[in-house]
């Protein structure tokens, strides 16, 4: 199989840039591994045997293709045609596993014996622990000690799957610090270890590689829409963006089709200008985080700011370089959704469709309240994950608001 051409304005260039974003700003200690990956990743992942095994696992282990479901009651609620791409039905409950399946196969071909990963909400950690169990490879997951407390069920799941969860105690003790610790582990163990990054962030080639593994989402959307509405193209695709891997996957095969609106939904936390927000496209400026030039939240002196969102999967201080490029060029529109708006959408989706979405995903559903669209539009929401992991947060939210 020949890998897709990269002559698009929205694909990465030879140096790993999307326009002015991306690249590989890494210390020399990481250079060897990242460079080796850069030189070889396309050849490895588009090799016939790799694709065969990847597709087989996605089908028979993960449960793909995931349905594209016409949400009738949500559609009549919003007065348009709403389709839910059911990534929540993947094994482990979110889109994250599409990437970890791809990367574990890659790690095997690189001859690596040890896997490290970072996790925020724990979904990527669980998806990594899962594929490591599947392949019998040692798994170490770094997780901020603050996140370990607020995402206890996922910590237990990772341990159950045989992974070692190491608390990140540095800095603000959340996702960005877990990522720093994972990178440091890789610096200390460059020879036997592969680092499975969970989003379209990090140094080139990670953003592109992760986007390619997630691109199965839009690949399926195309034929599923064709089958159900007679056209492969929706009018809009909505996805939530923390680092942006589910959005990258949902947009991927539509990037060059300017007739399809791409909507990136960020977490506004308590409000964009409340000081407790993760709305990077509004609050961020150009800088470097985790080896990539992108929009990120930082002080005037270039210190990275810890963002806030009730959802642990969206409180990353940057966004993937692809998304910075899409937003800067106007290809994607960014919408910010507060904690409260997202919670309303959790209940709306649960009661109208019988689907409890992840808190992250609910931000994408809530964006419909802020968008202008036509009755006749077909809008796909990437339902990136299920809400089971957030039950504690939901229950606490209900209790807090009953007291008000």
């Amino acid at each position: 199989m020949i890998h897709p051409a990269t002559n698009s304005a929205y694909q990465v260039d030879d140096l790993g840039f999307y326009g002015e974003f991306g690249g590989s700003y890494i210390p020399e200690m990481l250079y060897h591994n990242v460079e080796y990956l850069r030189k070889n990743y396309l050849n490895i992942i588009y090799e016939d045997q790799f694709q065969k095994e990847f597709k087989d696992l996605l089908k028979n282990y993960v449960g793909r293709p995931t349905p594209l479901y016409f949400a009738k009651r949500l559609s009549s609620h919003f007065g348009t045609n709403i389709w839910l791409k059911r990534e929540d039905l993947n094994h482990t409950g979110a889109h994250k596993v599409n990437n970890t399946i791809g990367q574990i196969l890659l790690a095997q071909r690189l001859g690596k014996k040890r896997i490290i990963a970072e996790t925020g909400a724990g979904q990527h950690g669980v998806a990594t622990a899962t594929v490591c169990a599947l392949k019998g490879i040692e798994c170490i997951v770094y997780m901020g000690s603050v996140d370990i407390e607020r995402q206890a069920p996922n910590v237990s799941r990772m341990k159950m799957l045989g992974a070692k969860v190491i608390p990140a105690e540095s800095g603000s003790k959340t996702l960005k610090d877990a990522t720093n610790e994972a990178i440091r582990d890789w610096i200390n163990n460059p020879e036997d270890t592969h680092y499975i990054i969970g989003s379209v962030v990090g140094p080139h080639p990670y953003p592109d590689m992760v986007a390619r593994f997630q691109s199965v989402i839009s690949e399926e959307m195309k034929w599923q829409l064709k089958e159900q509405i007679g056209s492969e193209n929706p009018d809009a695709i909505i996805a939530c963006v923390g680092g942006g891997s589910n959005a990258a996957g949902a947009y991927y095969h539509y990037l060059d089709n300017e007739n399809v609106r791409l909507v990136a939904v960020e977490a506004a936390g308590l409000g964009i200008h409340s000081g407790e927000s993760a709305a990077t496209s509004v609050l961020g400026t150009k800088g470097i985080i985790h080896g990539s030039r992108t929009l990120l939240m930082q002080t005037e002196d270039g210190q990275i700011i810890e963002p806030y969102s009730l959802s642990a999967g969206l409180d990353y201080p940057g966004i993937g370089p692809l998304h910075s490029h899409l937003i800067q060029t106007g290809r994607a529109e960014a919408i910010s959704i507060t904690d409260d708006e997202a919670m309303d959408a959790v209940f709306l989706c649960s009661r109208k469709e019988g689907i409890i979405p992840a808190l992250e995903t609910a931000h994408a559903i809530a964006a419909l309240e802020k968008m202008i669209y036509k009755d006749s539009d077909h809008i796909v929401i990437n339902l990136s994950g299920r809400g089971d992991k957030d039950l504690g947060t939901f229950i606490k939210y209900i209790a807090d608001h009953e007291q008000d």
């Binding site: 140096l15 690249g23 590989s24 700003y25 890494i26 210390p27 020399e28 200690m29 250079y31 060897h32 540095s170 800095g171 960005k176 720093n180 990178i183 440091r184 610096i187 200390n188 163990n189 460059p190 020879e191 400026t285 150009k286 800088g287 470097i288 985080i289 985790h290 080896g291 930082q298 005037e300 002196d301 270039g302 210190q303 990275i304």
Partner: protein, 263 residues
């Protein structure tokens, strides 16, 4: 003449470069620590610009950076402190930090300010070689600032040659597979690596860093390079008991023990 270049012209062995984080343990300690180190015969001072996310550094340096930031350290304050230090000291001075800090300050403005306050050189571990070559090589020449790139046991010879051609000042030889502050001692594979680098007869002098923490490791490093860089071990010492000058004296005397006995 650039103070680092002039140092390497007159001294070729046992060069001691000591790193510390600006603004740690207290915001205004930079001045006293730098003069203290100069008084102990340290050859180069490497001032760390505290950063929220120092990828190449271990916990000791990150914690000192967090503390310095809490103390209120900013790049402008640091530049002012260096200006004051330059009234009393001609010691070669390097700034070490991360490229995001430089970009956010304004890259050209940052390097010009470095020159204006008397900084001699920079270490920016996450600044890519090709970005330096394309955007800053000429500017560094004009400003007479040195740049030191890192090499590791995994850096291939062809890349070492490239690094040697762009480096000015000295090459920073990362001693092992490690972040700063790792405690391992020096292993046989590291000695082989030092020998391999020496056999390449590079045009720049070399300083070995990472894992250099005491007299023994400093002495071994000095056998295979013009000198060595000590960071985390000194930061730990700064956090110890006694007055600042006492802590500095005790630490540096311990490192230089043999040199002093011989002389």
């Amino acid at each position: 003449m650039n103070r680092i270049k002039s140092l390497f012209e007159r001294k070729h062995s046992n060069i001691l470069n000591v790193y510390f984080t600006a603004g740690y343990p207290n915001l205004e300690d930079t001045f006293e620590i730098a003069l203290g180190l100069e008084g102990c015969g340290v050859d180069i001072i490497e001032l760390g610009m505290p950063y929220s996310d120092p990828l190449a550094d271990g916990p000791t340096i990150q914690e000192s950076g967090s503390r310095a930031l809490k103390n209120g350290m900013t790049l402008d304050i640091l530049f002012t402190q260096i200006e004051k230090l330059r009234e009393q000291s001609e010691l070669p001075l390097i700034l070490m930090g991360y490229f995001n800090q430089v970009m956010q300050y304004g890259d050209k403005k940052f390097f010009e300010r470095c020159k204006a306050v008397g900084v001699d050189g920079l270490i920016l571990p996450d600044l890519p070689l090709h970005v330096f070559e394309r955007d800053y090589h000429q500017l560094f020449k004009e400003l007479e600032l040195t740049i030191s790139f890192l090499i590791t046991p995994q850096t291939p010879d062809s890349r070492i040659r490239k690094i040697d051609s762009l480096t000015t000042g000295f090459i920073y030889v990362v001693s092992s597979y490690a972040i700063t502050g790792a405690k391992k001692g020096i292993q046989p594979y590291q000695i082989d690596y030092f020998k391999r680098i020496n056999a390449m007869e590079l045009s720049n002098p070399k300083l070995i860093g990472f894992g250099i923490s005491d007299h023994k490791t400093f002495t071994i490093a000095c056998e295979y390079a013009e000198g060595a860089i000590i960071g985390s071990a000194f930061i730990k010492a700064l956090g110890g008991l006694g007055s600042l000058p006492e802590r500095i004296n005790a630490f540096i005397s311990n490192i230089k023990m043999k040199e002093e006995i011989n002389s």
